[in-house]
Structures are given as C-alpha cells and as structure tokens.
C-alpha cells in the first residue's frame, strides 16, 4: 500500500496530472480474498483449540474419579488390572530414562557436528555431513524402532560387561534411548549451527588476531556467544524425544517402572497411549479417559519446552540481527 501512495505522491510532486491509480470503485473482491486467506491462517488457531478441547474434556471427567495428587505423584500405574491404580510417575520416569540415554548420544554428537560445520568444515566434509543430517531427519520413526530392536538390543546384549549387572532385557530403555538419540541429532545440530553461524565474524577474527587457536575460538568465543541457541536446540531435542512414540513402543517394552534404568523394560507415556490405542479404545470409561489425561500431561510438558525454546532462539536472534 505504501508503494502505491509513494508513487502517486511522486506524480503529484512532479506537477503532472497523475492518472488515477486507485480503482474507480472499492474492490470488494479484494476484501473477500483477504478474508478467505485470513480464514486459512485462523485455522491454525482452531486446531490448537480443538487439541485443547479434545484433551481437556475427558481429562476433567477423569479427575472426577481420580485425584490429581494421586495421578501426578502416585507410584503405581495399573489402569486396567485391578486393583486399579492411576499414579503416572512410572510412566514419567520411563520417558525420562529413555530421554536421558538419548541426550547422552545426541548432545555430544549434535554439538560436535554443529561446531564442526560452523568453524571447521571444509567443503568435502560439508558435502557429506549436511545431507547425512537431512537424511537422518527424514528417516521414518518405524525404521528407528526397528533399528533399536533388531540391531541395538542384540549388540548391547552381546557386549554387555558383567560388572554392570544383568544383561539388558529383550525390551529395554537403553536401546530405545540410543536410537532416539540418533533421531534427534539433526535437531540439535541444525539449530546450534544456526546459532553459531549468527555469531558475528568480528568476534572470531578478533580472537584469532589475538593468537587464539581454532579450538579456543570455538569453545571460548563462539560457543558462549551462541549459548542461548544451543540450549534452545537441546530443549527442542528433549521435547522431540519425550513425544516420540514408535521407537519406545517397539523397543522399550511396556513395564511401568520406577527406576531410572538402562537395561530394564520401561513404559513411556507415549508407549502407553500407543498400547491402549491398539487394544480397546471403544468406550467412554475411566480407562479410555486415561489416554486423554496422559495426553494432556504430554501436551503441556512439550508445549512448555517449545515455548521456552522459541524464547531462547529469539534471544540470540535479537542480539545479533
């Protein structure tokens, strides 16, 4: 709109009788089109509202019968077998176990890749690394689940050193965690690399000029400067790991477990939802409503992490752009 006014105004300034640029009559079609397009955008709000409504309704019903305290802090999760118990802690700890092993893989590998890409990369390695990350990001999760169960589990069972205790079960948190770690490497690598690249060249050059080695520049200058972006990437990675369903469903088992474990079977929040989904999901009952209560918990937690991550990304963008 401003362009038109400017051009029209310049016509005025030149003193010549300017041709009318505005339409002879108001164009209602334009307004209709704008409204239609706005509707498309508003659909996203509708989606969010629908998610919240679909989760909250049955959850409220659920909490009429089960106390919130018992749910959030109870230590026995047995929604189907009597005596029924609805303490969600074992599921939370199951998710945490898997996420922990995932981070142990993903953070060093992801950050290493990011530092390399932003500070060291020669074209040859770059040509190999960037596509690898893109492919990793595109592999379907069912393939990761298959990998965890049919490759990772047998391998860690084989190489398991005796002093660590019992050999891992056929379903265990560790294999699922390692596979999920590989899955989230692209998230951590790409966002961290973005943040590191945004650090102004001047900071690096100043450091080099003062005699610092590449390692020092990477660790003491670039990394701290990009810290909020790095943290954002890790938070987003955690959010992704927490929300991952198929890998845990295929490799981690379905045993509600209160221990943070590597070699035992656990049940993650998402795996519970998946198991109930492939069984009886046909009625309005307390068991059915557990899907929604647990789903709401998942949604709230990941939403919190996503908002935090957005905040952190905005912070590093603001500082440098």
């Amino acid at each position: 709109m401003e362009a038109r006014d400017a051009i029209a105004a310049s016509g005025l300034a030149a003193g010549t009788p300017r041709p009318r640029l505005e339409a002879a009559r108001p164009r209602y079609g334009e307004r209709v089109i704008k409204a239609l397009l706005a509707l498309c955008a508003v659909l996203s709000i509708v989606t969010t509202v629908a998610i919240v409504v679909s989760l909250v309704g049955p959850t409220v019903e659920f909490f009429r019968e089960v106390g919130i305290f018992d749910f959030l802090f109870g230590t026995n999760w047995s929604p189907t077998i009597s005596p029924e118990s609805y303490g969600v802690l074992p599921l939370v700890i199951g998710t945490l176990s898997v996420t922990l092993w995932g981070l142990i893989v993903a953070v060093p590998v992801g950050l290493g890749a990011a530092i390399y890409l932003s500070e060291y990369a020669r074209p040859r390695v770059r040509k190999l690394l960037k596509p690898t990350l893109e492919v990793l990001a595109g592999v379907p999760t069912v393939a990761f689940g298959f990998f965890a169960f049919s490759f990772v589990t047998p391998v860690i069972q084989d190489i398991w050193p005796g002093f660590l205790g019992d050999e891992p079960n056929v379903f265990n948190a560790g294999a699922a965690g390692l596979a999920i770690g590989l899955l989230i490497v692209p998230i951590i690598a790409s966002i961290s690399e973005d943040a590191m690249s945004a650090v102004p060249a001047g900071l690096r050059e100043g450091a080099y000029a003062l005699g610092a080695s590449k390692m020092r520049v990477a660790l003491r200058v670039v990394f701290p400067a990009a810290l909020s972006g790095v943290v954002a990437s890790i938070v987003l990675g955690v959010s992704r790991a927490v929300g991952e369903t198929l890998v845990v469903l295929m490799a981690a088992g379905n045993t509600p477990n209160l221990d943070l474990t590597f070699s035992e079977s656990v049940q993650a929040i998402t795996a519970y939802i998946g198991v109930v989904a492939t069984g009886d999901i046909s009625t309005q009952s307390l068991e059915y409503n557990t899907i929604f209560a647990v789903g709401l918990l998942l949604f709230v937690v990941t939403l919190g992490m996503n908002l935090l991550s957005i905040r952190l990304v905005r912070r590093y963008r603001e500082v440098y752009e």
């Binding site: 362009a3 640029l21 079609g29 334009e30 704008k34 239609l36 397009l37 706005a38 509707l39 955008a41 659909l43 989606t47 969010t48 629908a50 998610i51 409504v53 679909s54 989760l55 060093p108 590998v109 950050l111 290493g112 530092i115 390695v125 690898t132 990350l133 990793l136 595109g138 592999v139 379907p140 999760t141 069912v142 393939a143 990761f144 298959f146 990998f147 169960f149 490759f151 080099y208 000029a209 003062l210 005699g211 080695s213 660790l219 929300g243 369903t245 198929l246 469903l249 998402t270 939802i273 989904a277 492939t278 999901i281 789903g295 998942l298 990941t302 996503n306 908002l307 991550s309 957005i310």
Partner: protein, 307 residues
C-alpha cells in the same frame, strides 16, 4: 582484493604479531587442538555411521524377502504370500487427501501472513507463534485429537480414510505454512512494488507475480512435508483402528491401513518371517521417500530463481 580476503590477511598478520610478542603458545596447545579436532570428527562419524548402520541393517534383513510381490500382494494369512499392496494403496489414498487439504489451506495461510497481515497486530503475532508451536507438538497428540474429535466426537467419521487424512493434514499443515512462507518471502520486494506501481491490486500482484515465482519453493516444501506424512505412524494407530486389513480401500469412507502401520503390524508378530517382511517394507518405504526427496531437490535446483 575482495573484502573477506583482506580481513583474513589482516587477521593473520595481527595474529602473527601477537604470537610473536607473547612468545610461545601455552604448552600443549597444539596437541589439545588436534585432539579436539579429532573429537569433533569422531562425533561426526557417530552420526554418519549410525545412519549407515541403520540403513544397512534394514537392507540386510529385508533384502531376502524383497521382490515384486511386495507391491502386488496384499496382506494374507501366510507371510510368504503377504505383501504391501493394501498398505501402499492406503497410503496413496491417505496422502492424496492430505495434499488436497493442506496445499490450499497452507498456501493461503502463508500468503495471508506474508502479504496481508499487519505484523504489529497482536493477533497476527499470536497466529505466528501458534503455528510454530503446532509444528512441535508430538504427533501422537494429533492422534488423540483425531480420535476425540474426528473419528468420534463432533465429526464422528469412524475409522475411515478421510479421518486419517484430516488428522495428518492438521499435523503437516504448520510445516507446509512455514515452508510456503519461506518461499514467498524469497521473492524480492521490487517485484511486488513494480506490479503495484503499474496499477495492480494486491491480489493481482500475489496471483500473477509473487505466487508463480514462489511455486518451486512451495512445491519443494510441500513434497518434504508429505514425505514426513508418509512416514507418520503414531497418530494413525489411534485413528485407523482395524489392525488386520486385507483389502484395498475403495474410497475415502472405507477402512484402510498405511505403509508404516503395516510395517509396525508385521514387526509386532513374533515369527521371524514377519520380521523379515517388516524389514522389506522398510526398504519399500525408504525407496519411496528417496524418490520423493530426490524429486524435490531436483525441482529446487532446476527452478530456483536467482534474483
């Protein structure tokens, strides 16, 4: 000489001066530097090796079973006679529905946000943040949404293809919007200004200048979003109930199964023959995704506009 080269020379010169003035580098600096470099390379190789092993493992396990019958046979009682035809067709139907829904809605939303929306208004910013959040919501939550609102609840469509399409469309829409916005944003303002200066309305500018210029970018983004949708399993578990489907869907109101769900189902059976079948299915799916992504990359390279 170009500016960056000048800067580099200057930096190198200053560095030489400083190092000379300060004397030796701290003891062991060189070896620590090399060690660090090696560590980084080690991290990279974990990523690359991890991916390679994943693909090779699926390949090795599934190749014995791979054959043309995977594409022509449906689910049968015997693993030797089972294939993925039902699942492939289910995927095609499902994805067809997703494309039909997400492309107009996603591109429309992107056009609105880039061309029409006033950034200062709080509601437009809220929409933007909202889209970013939706892109990161776990996929199974979309499945719960589908179960509660689309399959049952107000829409009550039942466990049919259309319900699955809508659920996946909602899941993939934020990604499509973000990709379309990038493509539209890449069109330089001068194109728009020129068009407006010649008397075009905003919509005419969008329709005749901005949109055609951004179609390659939008198409690439849509293809990548669809690739993601093809691999989605978790939400469809909640929304496509029947686990044993041995027929091809005949329409949007039929039962169905899709490729990743079928792979998961075969995997869940204990007999070895089914595990091998699942691995073969993974090869099929990866081949499909590679084809689509290569097509998207080719598109991007071929039609990318250099402004």
């Amino acid at each position: 000489m170009p500016g960056s080269q000048r800067v580099r020379l200057a930096t190198a010169g200053a560095r030489a001066e400083t190092v000379g003035a300060l004397g030796q580098q701290p003891a062991g600096e060189r070896s620590r530097s090399y060690a660090f470099h090696a560590l980084l390379l080690l991290m990279l190789s974990v990523a690359v090796l991890g991916l390679a092993i994943l693909l090779i493992d699926a390949f090795v396990e599934g190749l014995p079973r791979f054959g043309i019958d995977l594409f022509t046979e449906g689910t049968s009682a015997l693993p030797e006679e089972s294939g993925f035809l039902n699942a492939i067709l289910g995927t095609l139907f499902l994805i067809g529905g997703v494309i039909v829904m997400t492309v107009p809605l996603g591109v429309g939303a992107a056009i609105y946000l880039e061309e029409y929306a006033d950034r200062e208004r709080w509601w437009n910013r809220a929409i933007e943040v909202n889209i970013q959040n939706l892109a990161a919501v776990p996929s199974i939550v979309y499945g719960i949404l589908g179960l509660g609102v689309i399959v049952r609840g107000p829409l009550d469509l039942g466990f049919v293809v259309l319900a699955g399409s809508i659920t996946l469309a909602l899941l993939v829409l934020p990604t499509v919007i973000i990709a379309a916005r990038e493509a539209i944003r890449a069109v330089p303002p001068s194109i728009r200004e020129g068009s407006l200066a010649l008397g075009a309305t905003q919509w005419q500018t969008v329709r005749r200048q901005v949109l055609p210029a951004s179609i390659p970018g939008i198409t690439t983004g849509v293809i990548l979003a669809i690739s993601r949708a093809i691999g989605e399993t978790a939400p469809l578990l909640l929304v496509g109930a029947a686990v044993f489907v041995s027929f091809n869907p005949s329409g949007f109101f039929d039962g169905y199964t899709v490729l990743p769900v079928q792979i998961f189902t075969y995997f869940s059976r204990a007999q070895d023959e089914y595990i091998v079948l699942a691995a073969a299915g993974i090869i099929v799916m990866l081949a499909l995704l590679i084809a689509m992504n290569s097509f998207a990359i080719w598109l991007r390279n071929r039609y990318e506009q250099k402004w």
